[in-house]
């Protein structure tokens, strides 16, 4: 590992600044997932929905990009064939399609942020935003742990399936106890090791931490931030009843 060299830091630097990522998540969460805004916002929402995919491409996250596209295609295919299906199945197709097309954007954005932001980048971005430690530390620990917990849960599910303990299996009733308890036990263990290592490296110490990773706004960041501002302005104008297009 040659993290200490300035050049490799520059190479590892993400396409956009963590703070821009945060702003984008917020905008996506409010407008695409939360469904703020009416008719006039529709074209903007389409552009916003395409954004995570573009960012994944820009960061060369091919597998994630193709997984997202697959989910999206499945979702739209389900919605498209829905009218031709018998009643019960079409209901089912509608829900699956609805889930897939609605959630995929936010899931992709989340995946993008978690995959491309290192914990130190996240912390230094939060510090620049003057967030208190009480928010920064738990959130950074959480972002670090989500993929770990997911992986743990997957392997525990596999192990329990071998013993016939899974939803729809013979011992479905034991699922909660026999999947969640080991999942939590191992997650807590991992978390404790993580916490020991983080404390050793001075997380939560009363002094100001320094950081080697480089963050800062560049042209693409300003572009995205202006875009976010534009979306918010468009929404406010719509609320005031101004017709934009």
């Amino acid at each position: 590992m040659e993290y200490s060299s300035k050049q490799s830091q520059e190479k590892r630097r993400g396409f956009i600044d963590p703070r821009t990522k945060l702003a984008l998540i917020l905008i996506l969460a409010l407008f695409v997932m939360g469904g703020l805004g009416g008719e006039q916002m529709q074209p903007l929402k389409m552009i916003l929905s395409a954004l995570p995919f573009a960012l994944l491409l820009a960061e060369k996250q091919w597998t994630r990009f193709f997984r997202g596209v697959c989910i999206l295609v499945c979702g739209y295919a389900l919605l498209w064939i829905m009218p031709y299906l018998p009643a019960v199945l079409s209901y089912f197709a509608l829900f699956c399609g609805g889930i897939l097309t609605r959630f995929v954007v936010t899931i992709m954005m989340g995946e993008y942020v978690i995959a491309t932001t290192s914990v130190s980048e996240f912390i230094s971005a939060m510090e620049k935003l003057c967030m208190p430690q009480q928010v920064t530390i738990p959130l950074s620990v959480m972002f670090r742990l989500f993929p770990t917990i997911g992986a743990e849960w997957k392997s525990i599910r596999r192990a329990m399936r071998m013993r016939g303990i899974h939803l729809g299996g013979a011992k479905a009733g034991q699922v909660v106890e026999y999947q969640m308890v080991p999942m939590m036990t191992s997650s807590v263990r991992i978390g404790e090791e993580l916490s020991a290592s983080a404390l050793t490296r001075g997380l939560g110490a009363p002094v100001k931490r320094t950081n080697i990773c480089r963050i800062g706004f560049r042209a693409q960041d300003y572009l995205m931030l202006v875009g976010c501002l534009f979306v918010v302005c468009a929404w406010i104008l719509e609320m005031c009843g101004v017709r934009l297009w």
């Binding site: 609805g98 738990p138 106890e177 916490s195």
Partner: protein, 194 residues
């Protein structure tokens, strides 16, 4: 001793660890909410299943403020995952109440821990608030889910469901707390995690 009574780095990391476990469970369960019948039932499942990590979390709580911070982190995550700003408000209120109850037991009382989790669970009600405060608008936004979905949800969620859901959150929170404690005794103490 005065130094120990403040939130330190270790406490904050613990909040992160248990918050992550809680959130993963919450997220897995919340996916079910897309099916209309499960939407009101979320206020049953989430508190009961979330009780397990939360009771484990309470065994680590020694300093004032931890539950409040935990609740606020949940609020921020809800904001980031598109539930709107309402959960932030309910999180602040529920977190504060839970904190006060547990503090009155000096962070040791097991009965108050269960009660505290019941109060904490009431934040989940914040996720339903957009539905009840703007009944028409909520369904207008979800028009693309199809009429069948809207009809089903409207039948399941009349306005009088609001207080019922709030109480359901609390009651199921108590049940979840008891379940969490039972599992704590059965498994986690044996594993040396408590």
């Amino acid at each position: 001793m005065n130094e120990d009574k403040k939130l330190n780095g270790r406490d904050l990391i613990n909040i992160g660890i248990y918050g992550a476990i809680y959130f993963v469970i919450l997220f897995a369960v919340a996916m079910l909410g897309m099916i209309p019948i499960f939407l009101p039932l979320l206020s049953v499942f989430v508190p009961i299943l979330g009780g397990i990590p939360f009771m484990l979390f309470l065994t680590r709580v020694k300093n004032p403020g931890m539950i409040f911070v935990f609740a606020m982190i949940m609020g921020i995550l809800m904001l980031l995952t598109g539930m709107g700003p309402w959960p932030l408000l309910t999180c602040a209120a529920a977190g504060l109440l839970a904190e006060l109850v547990l503090k009155s037991g000096d962070y040791r009382d097991a009965k108050k821990a269960v009660l505290s989790y019941g109060l904490f669970s009431m934040w989940i009600f914040g996720n339903y608030l957009p539905l009840f405060t703007d009944y028409e608008g909520y369904f207008a936004q979800r028009a693309d889910y199809g009429q069948a979905y809207i009809d089903a949800v409207q039948k399941l969620m009349p306005l009088w469901m609001a207080p019922v859901l709030l109480i359901a959150c609390f009651v199921c929170g108590i049940i979840g707390g008891l379940l969490g404690r039972a599992l704590l005794k059965k498994h986690f103490e044996k594993a040396g995690l408590v």
